[in-house]
Structures are given as structure tokens and as C-alpha cells.
């Protein structure tokens, strides 16, 4: 009975870490797509560095998840060897960045969430997770800074930049609800529900200063944490996993 309990705990811990790691990994992949395509060279470098931070978080979290699972899967096996339905990331991070404003809206919503989440997790009982979170929280402050700066500049900018930022915020908004759904047993990490109030307060402040309206809560797409993903996700994975799958065991 005791063994069973322990195994179940390990399972839910694995799922929880997978959710955190997949969020960071897929956000990193989408952000890295801007490499050599950003509107200015400084922005190109900034987005590449932010993607690298997220990838670093993903590597730590997925390595840890693999050890908790105990089936010999390392970070690469988890990132490149799983199929679409085995990914536990929220749909928000997989949404395609149709334009630069969409990338910034996603970075703002996800960055503030990650910043609050990692700050809370840095006091988790799980010391290894707390250590990763404490480091990631510091890095995420830069991502939030970057997203806020651009949101203000685009929202309170020209008529065209305002229109694009407003459209991006409205299109991405429904996908923010999933961030606050229970991600597993609370004993493993932090109940994301408690992050909702501080998240909303901060986002509303930024949107108001950017002369943008906070969208109404309406449609609430969900399912990412259960392996249900959007159509665009398959194409993202195909590109991300191609090399690993086409040339098993390839090394630099």
C-alpha cells in the first residue's frame, strides 16, 4: 500500500514538472522562431536571449522530471521523443506568433504568470524545484520588463501599432484562463488559482497604461495540460523534433 502511494506521488510529481518544463520549452521554441526575423537587430538579440533563458529552464525541469519518472528518459528524450498528446504545456505558449504584437502579448501574459509562479515555487518544500524556481524567477523579471516596455510602446504608439496590439491582446486573452486551472495535486507545487488575482491586477495596470482595454472574459479554451493541443502545435513539434527523430543518437 505504501509503495503504491509513493508511486502515485511520483507520477503526479512527474506530471507537474512536465507541465512546467513543457510550458518553458514550447515558449522557448516559439520565441526562437523570431531569430533573424525580428523588427530590429536589438530585438532579434533580445528575443533570442529570452528564448535561451526559457530553454535553460526547460532543460532543468525536464531533466528533473525524467529522474522523478525513473524510466531513463533524459531531457532530450522528453523534449524530442514524445508525441503531441504527451505534451502538458498550456495552449497559450504554442499559439503561432502571427505578428510581433502577438509575440509581445503572449510574453506579457505568460511572463507575469511565470514570474509569480516561480516566486511562489522558490519556497516549495521540494528543494530542487525551489532552487530552479529561484533562479528562473530572477530571469523572468527581464522577460516581463521586456514585454511591458513593448506593450506600452505599441499600445500607446501609432494608430497602426495600437490596432495590432489591441487585436493581439484580444486574440490571446481567452488562452490565459488555462494558466490558472489546477495543474495537479496542490501538494506537489503551487495552486495556480492563487496567482490569478495578482496576475490580473498587474496585467490590468499595464494594459491601462498602454491605453488598451482589458478584454471581457468569454471563451475559455482548455486541454493543454491533458495533452489536447491546437492545430499549429503539430507543425511546431515537427520542426523542433525533426533532427532527433531523423537521426537517432546524433551528436554535435
Amino acid at each position: 500500500m505504501k509503495v503504491h502511494d509513493t508511486a502515485e506521488r511520483a507520477d503526479s510529481r512527474f506530471d507537474y514538472l512536465l507541465g512546467l518544463g513543457d510550458d518553458a520549452l514550447i515558449a522557448a521554441q516559439r520565441t526562437a522562431e523570431w531569430c533573424a526575423r525580428a523588427p530590429q537587430i536589438e530585438e532579434d538579440v533580445a528575443l533570442a536571449n529570452i528564448a535561451l533563458d526559457l530553454l535553460g529552464q526547460a532543460r532543468e525541469l525536464l531533466s528533473y522530471a525524467g529522474e522523478v519518472e525513473g524510466r531513463g528518459r533524459d531531457e532530450d528524450a522528453l523534449a524530442f521523443g514524445r508525441d503531441e498528446h504527451e505534451f502538458r504545456n498550456v495552449q497559450l505558449v504554442e499559439l503561432p506568433d502571427g505578428d510581433f504584437a502577438t509575440a509581445i502579448a503572449k510574453m506579457l501574459f505568460f511572463g507575469v504568470y511565470q514570474r509569480l509562479l516561480y516566486s511562489a515555487l522558490s519556497e516549495a518544500d521540494d528543494r530542487r524545484l525551489a532552487g530552479i524556481a529561484a533562479k528562473a524567477a530572477k530571469e523572468t523579471a527581464y522577460h516581463v520588463d521586456h514585454a511591458v516596455t513593448w506593450t506600452l510602446r505599441l499600445g500607446d504608439g501609432t494608430a497602426e501599432s495600437h490596432r495590432r496590439m489591441r487585436t493581439a491582446v484580444e486574440q490571446v486573452w481567452p488562452f490565459t484562463h488555462e494558466l490558472f486551472e489546477p495543474a495537479g495535486p496542490v501538494s506537489v507545487g503551487v495552486d495556480p488559482g492563487v496567482l490569478r488575482a495578482p496576475w490580473t491586477r498587474l496585467i490590468e495596470q499595464v494594459l491601462a497604461r498602454a491605453t488598451l482595454r482589458r478584454p471581457d472574459d468569454d471563451w475559455r479554451p482548455t486541454g493543454g495540460r491533458r495533452g489536447l493541443h491546437t492545430e499549429a502545435f503539430g507543425r511546431l513539434l515537427a520542426e523542433m523534433q525533426y533532427l532527433y527523430r531523423a537521426h537517432p543518437g546524433a551528436r554535435w
Binding site: A46, I132, A134, E139
Partner: protein, 165 residues
């Protein structure tokens, strides 16, 4: 032998900020003799995604071997998280001499629960070349995650700034 290995490993340079050793940067946390004759080196990354860590590990291993160590284990630890406050005065002077503005004090850790709306704007910095405070931020995200790009409006030179972290 452990003293010799420690001295050799301490001299390994950071690949992205060549004027600093990993000791001066504060990412070398410990060099100790393990139970079975191995040498255990503990390092901590500046940022989780720092792409220089693999090179640093390889150079630590090479330095330790050159100093006569045959068995070496390199451990990465994340706690406590690295901060630019660990840079010594000597390290800051070396950065400035190399044309890079050293980081200011971090003060309240940004990992705290307060979340500044527009954080991290560091205020005017002194040019590491001419000392003028007449400087402008060009790009908050510089050539690597740990740097920002600034310009001196007095001597008209761009310079890197190591960000508080």
C-alpha cells in the same frame, strides 16, 4: 595536489567575459578532494540557459588534468542563485578596465514577491572609458543575456554594461 588543482581551476576564464576568471565571476563555488581520490568541482550558472557552461566545464576539466588530477567530477548547483553581488572589487575594476561598465548593487533581490511594473531601469551609468555620466541606454538586451548595450554621449563610444542580476 588539491591546492594545485584549485589554483589551476580558479584561473579558468569565462568564455564570454574573457577578462574575468570563473573564480572572480563567482561561478566557481568549491574545489574539494572527494573520498576516492577524485576532485569534485562545484559550479553554478549565471543564467539557467547560459550557453557557455559546457565550454566552462570542459575547460575546468582540462585545467584540472593539466594540474595532475586524473579523476574529476563537476557538479552544478543552483542554490544559492548566482548574483552579480558576488563580483569582487577586483573583478569590477577589471571589467571597467576592459571597457565594460560593472553592475551596481542588486539590493533587494528581484526574486522577491514584489513585482515592479517597469523594473530594472538602472539610471544613468558612468562611461567605463572617460568616466562621464552623460550616457544613454541603447538596448537593454545586449549581446548576451547578462549584458546591456549603452552609449557614452561625451566620448561617443558604445559600451557593454553587465546587468545587475
Amino acid at each position: 595536489m588539491i591546492e594545485r588543482v584549485r589554483a589551476a581551476v580558479s584561473e579558468v576564464r569565462d568564455p564570454e567575459i574573457r577578462v574575468l576568471s570563473i573564480q572572480e565571476l563567482g561561478i566557481l563555488r568549491e574545489v574539494r578532494a572527494g573520498d576516492d581520490g577524485r576532485v569534485v568541482v562545484t559550479v553554478t550558472p549565471t543564467y539557467l540557459g547560459c550557453p557557455a557552461m559546457d565550454v566552462i566545464r570542459a575547460e575546468i576539466e582540462a585545467a584540472a588534468r593539466a594540474a595532475g588530477c586524473t579523476e574529476i567530477e563537476i557538479v552544478t548547483c543552483l542554490t544559492p542563485p548566482w548574483t552579480t553581488d558576488w563580483l569582487s572589487e577586483t573583478a569590477r575594476a577589471k571589467l571597467a578596465a576592459a571597457g565594460m561598465a560593472p553592475p551596481g548593487p542588486v539590493g533587494t533581490p528581484p526574486s522577491g514577491r514584489t513585482l515592479p511594473l517597469i523594473p530594472l531601469s538602472p539610471g544613468p551609468r558612468r562611461c567605463p572609458r572617460c568616466g562621464s555620466a552623460d550616457t544613454t541606454e541603447i538596448a537593454r538586451a545586449g549581446s548576451t543575456a547578462c549584458k546591456a548595450l549603452w552609449r557614452c554621449d561625451a566620448c561617443r563610444q558604445p559600451f557593454d554594461l553587465m546587468k545587475e542580476h
